[in-house]
Symmetry: C2
Subunit: 140 residues, 2 copies
């Protein structure tokens, strides 16, 4: 069902980009990926990074995360899983499978909408931002 046609050539840049994303619980923005790939391929361009992130997520090799606020993030893990999202700094983390496996979201039916899946995002504050809260007195 999934077109596997776009990945034709494993360029150095593509390889580095995939390596970058191949890390647990890591959900970088395009710019973060760019900066890391750049260390080994200094002349890489942001455009190339965006193009590859787009191609790879269309292929289903990686996942594009749209729920993180204004800036898009990417996830090297294409298999369905849930995320937690820090409301203060925007960070995304994986919800451990063990914690969420038993969640059983039922199949929903709607008259005018064909539902094909769902996303569940837990919100709150990461360790780092919790600490800051204590000093700030609840900044917004």
């Amino acid at each position: 069902m999934k077109t596997q046609s776009s990945i034709r050539r494993m360029t150095r840049q593509r390889r580095l980009l995939l390596d970058t994303l191949d890390r647990k619980n890591w959900h970088p923005t395009a710019d973060e990926v760019y900066r890391i790939v750049k260390m080994k391929a200094p002349r890489v361009s942001l455009g190339t990074v965006y193009r590859n992130l787009d191609i790879l997520s269309k292929e289903g090799v990686i996942t594009k995360i749209e729920e993180a606020g204004s800036q898009r993030r990417y996830d090297g893990n294409p298999r369905p899983h849930y995320h937690v999202h820090c409301l203060k700094c925007g960070a995304i983390a994986d919800m451990p499978d063990e914690a969420a496996r038993w969640l059983n979201i039922p199949k929903m039916e709607l008259p005018d909408f064909k539902i094909t899946g769902h996303r569940l995002i837990f919100e709150g504050y990461c360790a780092h931002c919790q600490d800051k809260e204590e000093m700030d007195g609840k900044g917004n």
Copy 2:
């Protein structure tokens, strides 16, 4: 717990903006709100619309929807509810309470993350885009 300090004055623009959002199952982008407010207040600026959407959502009077892909949407209904999201056109619709009320997402605990809530988005295709699919042969 919620600072109620920013809404100091009910300006004409603010009133019109709130009226615009006061409609069921309507999740406009800032630009859509702008165009509508503009009909009655032709000199309103997009900046004002953005500023008000921001203030009002911080007040908890409306909701900022971050899950709709690249463009942010807003919801006049501040009470927690679930959304459905069209993968083709980006539209957002409300999941009817009756359909989702019995969903019982348990309280989650994580070691390094303080979870305060969750968002659940059902994905699929709206009536309009389902029709288009049939003609297109599964566009992307």
